[in-house]
Every structure is written in structure tokens, then in C-alpha cells.
């Protein structure tokens, strides 16, 4: 909550704006065309998300906010650890 934040105005993550738009567009399409129609078994927009998130973790300098990014990293590794290693049943 430093006073220096005053000068930064809004553009604290604007280097990621393009990646953000790409991800949000993809997400919005997935949400309304798949997720709410019962097709939630498959995650989409994964590469868009990874690129955007990588950019955020580089440019998000607000420590209050980056805490939430880090928290997600922990959740990620936790769920991956639990994930069932049963091979391809995608069909």
C-alpha cells in the first residue's frame, strides 16, 4: 500500500494486455459454448492461460496481488500430485 503506487496509475499489468485479451476471449467462448452446456470435462485455452499467467507473474509487482498467483501455483502442484495416472481414456 505504498504511497509510490500513486504514480503508477492503471497500467500495472498492461504489458500483458494482448495476452490477457487472447485468454479472456478464449475463456468467454469456452464458458458460454461448452461449460454451461454440460461439456466441462475438458479444460480449454490452456496455452493462452499459460502465456498470460507467465506474463502476469513477471509484471504483477503488487505483493498483495501476486500472493494470489502464488497461491494458485500451490493448488496446481497439489492437484497434479493427486491426478490419476490412468492412461488415455479420452474417447
Amino acid at each position: 500500500m505504498g504511497m509510490s503506487k500513486r504514480d503508477k496509475k492503471s497500467s500495472f499489468t498492461s504489458p500483458c494486455a494482448h495476452l490477457r485479451t487472447a485468454y479472456h476471449n478464449c475463456f468467454n467462448r469456452w464458458y458460454s459454448e461448452k461449460f454451461v452446456k454440460g461439456m466441462w470435462d475438458k479444460e480449454e485455452c490452456v496455452s493462452e492461460w499459460q502465456k498470460y499467467r507467465a506474463c502476469l507473474s513477471e509484471h504483477l509487482d503488487d505483493k498483495h496481488l501476486s500472493r494470489f498467483l502464488e497461491a494458485e501455483g500451490i493448488v496446481d502442484s497439489a492437484t497434479q500430485g493427486v491426478k490419476n495416472p490412468v492412461d488415455g481414456v479420452s474417447q
Binding site: M1, K5, T13, H24, F27, Y52, F68, E72, V75
Partner: protein, 188 residues
Amino acid sequence: MVKAYTQEHVYKHPWERVTSASWRKFADPENKRTLSHILEVDTLSHKLDSLSGKLYTTRALTIHAPGPWFLRKIVGQDICHCVESTVVDAQSKSMQLTTRNISLQKFIEVEEKIRYEPHPENLTGWTVCRQETSIRIKPLSALASMAEKVEQRCAERFMQNSVKGREVMERICKYLEAESGGIASNFH
């Protein structure tokens, strides 16, 4: 010292469309002018439970909240970061958003809860939105002596913005409706 406000609104659109609109509310360039207090929205985390159909998302909202000069002087900034956590249950059709400020917490705590569910009288066609806002000035903060006034102002602003928010939601819903139904027939 807590002030709480509740509002209810019925959208004459299905839950799927209304919640889609909710995701687009801040991002749509056309709405940026109406909701000009929202400067940026970033998704910080995203998790899909692919077995139960639950989606968990955390977003950061950067909000421009200019107050009177004396308030700015005390607080030292006029932008504020909020964190919005959303849980969508596609199976039971509920979406719940909780937004809290993470900046300025030593002065004020604002929490807004929004819940979208199918309307009991028209489960497939309408959606009811319940919104609960609570505002709390920290008792020993520099704002405490004028808490009443600040809470009032803050509440008024919230009310104004939620009216604008509803207008934007209605507009996006109409747009999505046209997109899903109208366009196909227009081309024939």
C-alpha cells in the same frame, strides 16, 4: 460499524446467458465508458473441477475511486485493488462472486457478494441476481471520526455503480441473445 445493503434484480434471460454476460461485464470495450471506474481486470487463478463441473476463478479488479480531496490526502491514493473470487457450479446452476478490497484495508473493508440463480418461477428463462454489500470503516483508522459520512458516500457510489452494472449486463445479454439466435436466421 457495519452497513449492509441488499438488492435483487430479475433478468429475463436464462442463467447460462446472464452468467456469460457477467464474465464479459468489465472486458467489453463498449462498456468501458459506462463502467469507467473499472480500470483493469486480470485473472489471477483459474481452476476447473472437471468431475463436478465447478469452476473456481480469482480476478484482480483495479478500481478508480476518487473521493473528496481530504479523503485522498489521508488515504494517499485513488486507485484501489479488489479481489473477486467466483465459484460457478454448472450442474446446480449457481454462480457466486465475492469481491473484497485488498488495498486500503486498514481504513475500510468493503465486501460485495453477488449470486446468480435460475428464477424459481421460470427456471429455464429467467435469472435472479441477489447482491449484498457490506461496508465497514475500521474503528481506529484516520477515517473513523468521519466514518458515517464516508460510509454514506461509499454506499451511494456502490448503488450508482450497481445500477450502471445492471444496464451493462442487460446490454450484453441482449447482444448474446442476438448472437445465439438471430444471426443464423439473418444470413438465410
